[in-house]
Symmetry: C2
Subunit: 109 residues, 2 copies
DNA sequence: ATTATAAGACACCGTTTGGTGTCTTGTCAA
DNA sequence: TTGACAAGACACCAAACGGTGTCTTATAAT
């Protein structure tokens, strides 16, 4: 039963820097066991495991047991919502840049 | 002194749905006073004001006093970091879509 | 068969978060 | 000039967050 309906807001899931780092690490290899991930952080296994649980609740990660280890895999598609959301506001900061450029040009005269 | 160095992580600032709604509301009009924003939410003025303070700390909003009201304005450029971050992972969910399509095609045979 | 490793489950804890209410100050309107 | 409105400042609170440590179970290695 691989959690399909997201119980956790994706925006919430990526808010924590540790979790963004986990996403990055998982993007560099296709499957990583918990203990190997834990080794990258200055915190204990339990904490990292909790962060991964949150990523899983947001649908950003799946896990499977292999022998005695639990291997995690990135499932990036929910990030599409983030990109779309931010892209929507692109026009606004582009507009700001435009106005900034205008001001700079005026000052140079 | 309009806060220039972001004391607050932008990812953190946009994690809350109320704050995302504020961003949306501010994108629809160029300047909105606090009481008018408050009217859109099921919570008190103090709470909305706190959310706006967090947005300001992330550089997403500026405010100015006009008479007895404080008017807020969207400053969207920090959202660029969000878009860039998410866009980086685009290839991963595209890859997933590709693999999903392959699986579906295989099943159809 | 024994020992070491991987990780789940759970209780615990201090800090942050997201809300409240109240009091005060400044400004606009009658 | 009196009253109403906008909002800052502050104290307060319950719940969530991000970490810890310990105990147990399953698997791998010697």
């Amino acid at each position: 039963m691989s959690e399909n309906n997201p119980l956790r807001d994706v925006f919430d899931a990526i808010a924590d820097p540790t979790r963004r780092r986990l996403i990055q690490l998982l993007s560099e290899a296709d499957e990583v066991p918990l203990h190997e991930l834990t080794a990258q952080f200055p915190m204990g296994r339990t904490a990292v495991s909790k962060h991964l649980a949150i990523l899983r609740e947001a649908g950003l990660v799946t896990d499977r047991k292999v022998g005695r280890e639990t291997r995690y895999r990135l499932h990036a598609s929910p990030l599409r919502e983030i990109e779309d959301w931010a892209a929507y506001y692109r026009k606004f900061w582009q507009k700001n840049l435009l106005r900034l450029n205008q001001l700079l040009e005026e000052e140079e005269e």
